[in-house]
Subunit: 111 residues, 2 copies
Amino acid sequence: MTEAEESRADALFHALSDRTRRDILRRVLAGEHSVSALARSYDMSFAAVQKHVAVLERAGLVTKRRSGREALASGEVEAVRSVTALLEEFETVWRGRVARIDDLLAGPGHT
Amino acid sequence: MTEAEESRADALFHALSDRTRRDILRRVLAGEHSVSALARSYDMSFAAVQKHVAVLERAGLVTKRRSGREALASGEVEAVRSVTALLEEFETVWRGRVARIDDLLAGPGHT
DNA sequence: CCAATCTACAACTGAACGGTTGTAGGTTGT
DNA sequence: ACAACCTACAACCGTTCAGTTGTAGATTGG
């Protein structure tokens, strides 16, 4: 794991660690939404929602494009998959433990 | 998504959002480690590492058992898989969008 | 028995976080 | 032209967070 990869993992998991952001992500994965349309969905200021979108954008989970005066946000499913890939690394490490235990149970018969 | 599920997701993603905690999780998924053994691996105080383990434990990613004066921490692969399950929900939402786009391309011939 | 080891927890500090309000600039419809 | 709308960003506030030090209680080995 390089420093850059760890930083990206930090950003991804942090972005996902807030429920409002997860909800925004669901909506924009389902389809493009303007920031103000998103803001109307939550009991907080426009600026707060704008910040949440910015956090998701910095993590690469969301991209924005301009259409006139609106900023249309869209969910990036590839980024979601990259998180799954990170989790698979943990699975792999765990399987290593299991393999080692199996070796023990097979008995230290020979080497 | 119930309130309890969202709280659990908060805890899981937050626990994973720190690189020291991810590193601890890798180690304890590979095999049991005492807290002080873990602490020796990092350039920070014992108490700091202890807190990280506690965060992982609260999220259910790690369990501890007592062995004499040591607290042995072990990684919970099922909890890691529950995070993967959370991500699959995002994938599902996204596939819904694609299906809708496909319908559009098929043409609004009839309903 | 006693010193060393391991854990647990409290109190503190600086930085980051989630939220607010306010201001300013670009775009749109009438 | 101009009012309404959308976005961007700065400044501020209270809370949480990651780290520290310090203290105290079990357990162990010589």
